[in-house]
């Protein structure tokens, strides 16, 4: 007991710091330090192969980036991807959650089935879907299907008009199950008394949905919209594996742009500046969503 009191008094005691040390160490070395370094490098001309020739160039990188058409294209593509993906993903995930929320025998099989794509890595999923999207009928699963029902083949990933949408469709398939699980947890938390009361009042399915289910899940919706938006803004794997940013830069996202400049072209300074801009875009977007949601209340 005496010991405990002395601990409380001595604010320089080492024990509490020791407890947070492992987490802090990992956080510092893999998140905080790289962020500081990225901000610093964004003001330098720094080619990865010539660390000896690093030179301070002020805001030159930022100037070049915001006048680079490709970066603007990347921003446009990223937003387009997010704006198409987020509503579809939320609606599909919510719909699936409503379906599997029924207490029918064997429903857990469906829950697992819808969730299972999430257990596969995005890289593997992307490679598999490259085969599904193969533009040649007889080779690609989807195009063989289209040919069988008498429709013209679709180039999917091979055309600038369809590539991004094809990636959206695959991404929804891959991750909707995950968000479905979160919706499901939310649905099962809604008090049954509310539904019973509504039944007595003679409310129909739609009325219950509008006045009980959706309002009860408000926080879940906010959480999922935020998560899917942030995930959509970070889209990289699909473009990297399936299209390498093409065709005609139609799947060039901000993160792919950063990757290409930084790792492929080795311009670390330039890529750092692009990722700093990206950070502020995501920050602004999440703040805006948060503000919008708060004002609704």
């Amino acid at each position: 007991m005496k010991n405990a009191i002395s601990l409380k008094r001595n604010c320089f005691d080492i024990v509490p710091y020791l407890f947070i040390a492992p987490a802090l160490l990992v956080l510092a070395s893999f998140i905080i330090l790289p962020v500081i370094m990225a901000v610093r490098y964004s003001f330098y001309n720094f080619n990865m192969l010539r660390p000896d020739r690093i030179s301070l160039i002020g805001v030159e990188n930022y100037k070049n980036i915001i006048t680079d058409d490709l970066f603007l294209t990347a921003i446009g593509n990223t937003f387009r991807y997010a704006f198409i993906l987020v509503p579809i993903e939320v609606v599909v995930a919510f719909g699936l959650a409503l379906l599997v929320n029924n207490s029918i025998r064997g429903i857990s099989i469906y829950r697992i089935a819808y969730f299972s794509p999430m257990l596969t890595s995005m890289t593997v999923v992307s490679i598999l879907w490259t085969f599904i999207y193969n533009p040649t009928p007889g080779q690609g699963l989807l195009n063989s299907f289209l040919a069988n029902i008498g429709l013209a083949p679709c180039p999917f990933l091979r055309s600038a008009d369809t590539a991004l949408n094809s990636i959206v469709a695959m991404s929804v398939w891959q991750s909707a199950g995950n968000y479905m699980m979160i919706f499901l947890a939310g649905l099962q938390g809604v008090s049954t008394e509310l539904y019973e009361a509504a039944d007595i009042d003679g409310a129909g399915w739609w009325r219950k949905m509008r006045s009980i289910t959706i309002p009860s899940l408000h926080n879940v919706f906010v959480f999922i919209v935020l998560m899917t938006t942030i995930a959509a803004m970070k889209m990289f794997t699909q473009s990297f594996v399936m299209t390498q940013g093409g065709p005609d830069n139609s799947t060039m996202t901000i993160v792919y742009y950063v990757y290409q400049q930084g790792l492929q072209f080795r311009n670390i300074g330039y890529a750092s500046a692009a990722s700093v801009i990206f950070f502020f875009i995501v920050l602004l977007l999440s703040t805006a969503i948060k503000k919008f949601v708060d004002s609704e209340r």
Partner: protein, 425 residues
């Protein structure tokens, strides 16, 4: 309590120290010089050859040198390059690295690999084929030695061609022109099979097609490797792109070829490297096939792809002389004698081309002829890392319908501004 927490802290620090201390040690214990070589993983045959060669080297130089290899997955070649990039920043490059031919200039310009001119004998240097000597040199100095060489030609299905009544050129000077090639591919396309299988994997496009720009009187980049303006964005390049696009537009070539469509008879011809010979002989003994030359321009100017992996000594090599002994061991005539057949690629030296008699006969003969007579190495420019993927996506984008002038102008802007940012003085 205090004691316990102090003990915890000590343990924690010891653990961290243990993590960071597990780096390499450069031991010269009992006078043995340790060397490390980095390389990308390759086919089972090439892996086997490396293991054997290393064993042989360590045995031969037991007590003097000992070499260890570290292999990395290729990952579309970028995975291996990433390792080298990070090692440069961390200052942890090994003694030797494998360098893909066109990357020699980038590494040489950055001072990551060092010249070998003072270590190599005149005799050995003179023995290198022209194309490999050019590929390994930058700014007049020799930086890397080739493990083997490569070339691209047209494989054809003899049965399908006989049925269509098409004969192939048997002499280099009779090689099909672009137009003739187009007509042949068109004649060979039926509902059963494509006319030809060609590469649209953007990482390989520059290798496969850039000699066609040279044939047509232009190039990817100026000879000094500093600007693509006036080279890449010319009518000659557009002509090439239009020619290639037509093959896809008319569905004579599969836009997403399967790896085996030629072997399965789903395609009459295959535009590929000498590496396919080994596969054809071992896996498809029943297929009746032959090889003919890479097409020439309509004005009959020839030019064919060359280049492959080379070995270089890094600026971090503790003993460059020792590193050279190993580099030489892996690339001399004797090494070629086992390495080239194992890899399925071509001998990079005059002596080994003569000694390996199978390369003077069909089907390798045509590849060797091209290598000696018409080989065009890819441009030696430090901006290669930008040029290669950029040209690759220009080609794929144009095939899919993008405007060639627009795409080429964009590419020139991208490549030249990178050169200005990093290499212009």
């Amino acid at each position: 309590m205090r004691k316990k927490s102090a003990l915890l802290l000590v343990l924690l620090l010891a653990g961290i120290a243990a993590i960071f201390a597990s780096g390499s040690e450069e031991s010269t214990e009992s006078g043995v010089k340790n060397l490390t070589v980095w390389r990308p993983q390759n086919t089972a045959e090439i892996e086997g050859w490396w293991s054997e060669m290393l064993e042989g080297f360590n045995e031969k130089y037991a007590g003097t040198y000992h070499v260890e290899q570290v292999t990395f997955p290729k990952g579309g070649s970028q995975g291996y390059e990433d390792k080298i990039n990070t090692a440069v920043i961390a200052g942890s490059l090994p003694d030797l690295i494998l360098v893909d031919g066109p990357a020699v200039a980038t590494y040489a310009e950055a001072g990551i690999i060092i010249p070998m001119d003072e270590m190599i004998t005149e005799e050995s240097k003179a023995d290198l084929l022209d194309s490999t000597l050019k590929q390994g040199s930058y700014d007049g100095k020799l930086y890397t030695l080739p493990l083997w060489e490569s070339s691209v030609a047209i494989y054809y299905n003899k049965d399908i061609l006989a049925e269509a009544g098409i004969t192939v050129p048997e002499r280099l000077e009779d090689a099909w022109t672009w137009d003739e090639f187009y007509e042949v591919v068109k004649a060979l396309t039926t509902s059963e099979h494509y006319g030809c299988t060609m590469h649209t994997n953007s990482g390989q496009i520059t290798y496969y097609y850039s000699p066609m720009l040279v044939q047509n009187g232009t190039d990817l980049i100026s000879a000094d490797g500093s600007t693509t303006k006036g080279y890449l964005d010319t009518e000659e390049t557009v002509e090439f792109l239009t020619w290639l696009k037509r093959l896809y537009d008319e569905k004579l070539v599969n836009i997403e070829p399967t790896p085996t469509e030629f072997f399965d008879g789903k395609s009459a011809m295959l535009f590929s490297t000498c590496y396919q010979i080994a596969t054809l002989q071992s896996t498809y003994p029943d297929l009746n096939w032959g090889v003919t030359y890479y097409p020439v321009s309509n004005d009959h100017v020839a030019g064919t792809p060359t280049g492959s992996w080379t070995i270089g000594i890094t600026n971090k090599a503790s003993d460059p002389e020792a590193a050279f002994v190993f580099a030489d061991y892996m690339t001399n005539t004797e090494a070629n004698m086992t390495g080239c057949p194992a890899s399925g690629y071509l001998p990079p030296r005059k002596s080994s081309s003569e000694a390996l008699t199978q390369y003077q006969e069909e089907p390798y003969k045509k590849f060797m002829e091209q290598l000696a007579e018409t080989g065009v190495p890819r441009p030696r420019t430090p901006v290669w890392t930008v040029l290669n993927p950029t040209f690759g996506s220009v080609v794929t984008d144009v095939i899919m319908g993008a405007d060639p002038y627009e795409k080429l102008a964009e590419a020139v802007e991208k490549i030249d501004s990178d050169y200005q940012m990093n290499y212009a003085d």
